[in-house]
Subunit: 348 residues, 4 copies
């Protein structure tokens, strides 16, 4: 249920609405928009008549949200969600370009890559330290050692750091080191992990599962939002279909569909969605043309020797070429890629 | 097997190669490129040693094509195929924009739509007269009456006409009326129809089947090419997946994959690939950004009353807006949408 | 709309109902069941009130069919459709076992195989003479020559013959030679072909398309039924999914779902649905346990040398073992596989 | 790498082989078969020549396992894995029938259901207490309270208890209460959870993910096996496809494919794989006919009031009918469903 306040509603009137919500054992979620204040009342509210709120002072109207996702819905929050990330904005007219290797493999590898991708135009750094690998016998990531290297790369380049968290037990250490907690496709419905991330106030990057519907992706975002963490980016990374000429099928439709259904920023991962470095630039351009708010791209200084995902990783010079093309498309779309200009940050 | 001739090979030398091919019971296919002449020798040639050709005068080199599609392969024909269509070029740096209703419903409807889409920037007209409908009780198209109306719309607007042929028995009448023979998704592996179209010299627009792989699409194109008809456009129109929020899933990966594997022009149908007019413009932009050579889009003056596909049809003013956006993306890609400027043609 | 007649309705009363149906420009379809007579009134009837029929003498009740398929629906025809096929029954408590090679390759191959599969327990013979092949360069079938061989095999073994028709242009010759017209998966929505088969009175075996929904399969059956041909068998032959360890995914759910939705017999093709002779027997047993009315299985005397589908073809001795297992399951299900006992037939 | 010992190899010779394996930093896995002793040497062994083992006393031969899964492979362990479960055997000629509600809802509901399914022929009890729900606002299970009720039901009926564990943090409490740890489809690639279960010695029931390939399922089993836990059952529970007439598509092919690739027992969940109680019995029969080692079925005394999965839950009397049918199929397959005959156990 959404309670839309009058433009001139007082803080006291807003507070009164929140108290009524709490007295009904619902959870209030306050959204201060530019034009109006909206309060979500989430929980089992189907027996509560809307006039329980309509009679309160300062209330303009009350609506039920028809979709199963509530806090993620554009019905609740018609404006785009925009949130700051270490020097620029996610959402709005800025395009986030996250780049880096699949896995952090060594100190020199991540620092070299970080500098190269910053040079090429990226404004955030990715690198996995806990790796979800199909085989128990494959390289599983450097763990906390890798986080130290990511921290150093962050310090040197000024770029915020994105890394995947696979389990609640890794969350404490991850929160200390990274700027964005990535939830991988295989964990999109690891509900315990989602709840735990909802309890933090770190930005989350939630990847769509290999065969998750768009609605299920939004329901998983709802788990994080319901905990009070509003900084959630959604990521299309390709779905599993019968087609075998690419690793996955990029569901480009998901971009406009998500932009229609939700206020959350939506990015695309052309590395996983194609699985082939030859096709990454074309799909990256398509994503921005379709309205995506950003990209996450695998870049490796020497793809042939990468410990994981070498086939789909771009060399730095190919990535720079991709950024040039994407920037031109972004301009046509009235958007820009903000470069990292601040001096290297001193810490968190 | 491909025989690449030396740049200074004489017509007599080319002719000699062709005679050897025929003497081996293979079929020769001659490609005169800008830089070189290439001759395909198609058929069961795996027992024929390459030096059977290498020793001939004027031959530079001989290669086997490793892919199952031969005439469609870029290995045979490294340059893009470009062919004329009534005033402009398909392929190359021109973007074809085919627009019109799903079905021709009446004389006034098709003429009104044709004028509106030409005005909005389309350079070819679509309209179905033989409709493949899931139900035997649904509207099945106007048949030859519809072709008469299409002919009139063509005369008035100067736009070439694209229409679907469902069966060999319709081919004679279709060839008399239309400029481009469309093969629908459900007929992509109707091999008798493909062969029959290969015997004509009409441009073909071959749509990918609902669950056809990219390789199968190219094998179906091969049926047409093997008959000697080289004017084949391929069309991604969405594939069937588990996702139900859109009618189909646009396989945007297919654009760069096809451009890599084949020399044939590749277009996209965002109306069928999304099934929702709200998402058509976003996916149309994405297609051109990904490198597509054109679009085919459903436009109807009154979608709510359309006899078929109303939900995914754009109103003319929405279509005009889409063309403006697509043109801006095309320019970034170094391409253009050639308008129809010639006076209405006098006939075929 | 279904008009259910009273048990004691007279032929005259039935005739009167049919005349009213025709006067309303609908098509009547008469079903004489064991317990009651039911008349379908098919066409655009949503504006016709049910009391237009309820007031007629002999009418017990009138119902609208809610499903998009009408003649195929169990709502119209609650009892199973059972129809004779050259000595036994399709549907009811008999299991049809159709076996033979993918393609008729030579006179000796088809006759040898026919005798072997009859010996092993099959009661119908399959063999393709017009082959839908992905590649234009693959073996395309023997054509009419193959039909001559099939006719001879039929004569010698007394088994009815099933063969695929790919195109309307092949229909005349096929009707002369075969007992059952198979429509392949790639032609399931070749609506012109379906209509043409609806005009014949030959039994049809309609295979599900690679990515056709169960509802679409029934709509395609409706095209045949609407022409007046009521002898339609449906065939699950595996659908296309992401799984690559088998050629297709056998949708075993389709068996009980179809048996619930339609009165038509339902068979399964474990050769195509698995693509691997190692798994055929297990899936054949599963089909009969799930309630299938029959099987169609590829058998070849020398699979390694088969011109098509060798990997999925059973050797005759493996097929015999499969029939023994299937027969045991059939008995548990209260069903039987009627052997071919009649002397070789003298012709058509 | 597999080291196969001679039939008369001494324990000392086996021990010597294990020491060499450890000295090479590989992990030994000992399998004492009826006919021979086999030792797996798992880890990065591709640089180790097989003659490093062939020269040791008592060694008959050494083979490399070509598949990516090693401990799960039938190449390593050609005989079926059979393991005891509280009074009967999983694998071998016994069919396990696990039944019970989707969720434990109350003490009386689970005890009533447990008694009803035991009466009907089930030999193990299922019931979820930690529920993976798509929506954060849906019923999430009773947690430890539910485990108490399961324990009481176990005591009263003598049936072992199966329940899902969603997270490492729930593992300690689950291990105290349940006999079989179920890993749900959404957690099939929660590698941290799999590893943790590999450290226990509780029987695991690993469900296939919604879009997991058969190979990925086996790789996830490998995570558990690599920890030393050898009691792993695999469960086909339907995959996600384009078909919408059922909740999922039962991949019946997976039964014979898995039985061919692995020695682990394979069961099927017809409740989730169809999503509709009308189709459960047909698919349960098909599973056993295809060679499955067991079933897991949702049963609820009042499906219309179930807090989850009511549509796919059988009433006890329908379940009893299903068991009768399945038992008849099992007998044809040379197998049996061992009833629970022991007195109620006194505890763990």
């Amino acid at each position: 249920m959404i309670i839309i306040m009058k433009p001139n509603a007082t803080p006291k009137q807003v507070e009164d609405v929140i108290q009524v919500i709490q007295s009904l054992e619902l959870t209030p979620h306050l959204y201060q928009g530019i034009e109006s204040t909206v309060i979500g009342a989430v929980g089992d509210n189907h027996n509560i008549p809307t006039d329980r709120f309509e009679i309160l002072d300062g209330v303009e109207s009350v609506k039920r949200i028809s979709q199963p996702f509530k806090l993620a819905s554009r019905q609740l929050h018609p404006e785009d969600s925009i949130f700051p990330l270490d020097g620029f904005q996610v959402g709005g007219n800025e395009i986030i370009v996250i780049a880096g290797p699949c896995s952090v493999e060594s100190r020199s590898q991540i620092i070299e890559t970080a500098q190269a991708v910053r040079e090429a135009g990226a404004n955030a750094l990715r690198g996995g330290v806990f790796k979800p690998r199909t085989s128990p016998y494959s390289f599983q990531g450097l763990g906390e050692e890798g986080l130290e290297y990511l921290a150093e790369a962050r310090q040197l380049t000024g770029m915020p750091v994105v890394s995947e968290v696979m389990s609640q037990t890794q969350l404490d250490v991850m929160v200390r080191y990274v700027d964005v907690l990535q939830i991988g496709a295989r964990n999109m419905q690891n509900f315990n992990l989602l709840r735990a991330i909802g309890e933090t106030r770190k930005t989350a990057l939630l990847k769509r599962g290999l065969s998750a519907t768009i609605e299920e992706l939004l329901m998983s975002a709802e788990y994080i939002l319901a905990g009070g963490n509003r900084q959630v980016m959604l990521c299309e990374r390709g779905i599993r279909t019968f087609e075998t000429s690419t690793r996955n099928t990029t569901d480009i439709n998901a971009i406009p569909v998500l932009k229609s259904l939700t206020h959350l920023p939506v990015i695309l991962d052309p590395s996983h969605s194609t699985g082939d470095s030859e096709y990454v630039a074309a799909v990256a351009r398509a994503a921005v043309a379709a309205g995506a708010d950003g990209l996450i791209v695998e870049v490796h200084p020497d793809p042939a020797r990468a410990l994981s995902d070498g086939k789909q990783s771009l060399r730095p010079e190919k990535f720079a070429e991709m950024v040039r093309q994407v920037r031109a498309i972004a301009e046509v779309m009235g958007r820009k890629i903000t470069p990292v200009t601040k001096p290297a940050s001193v810490g968190w």
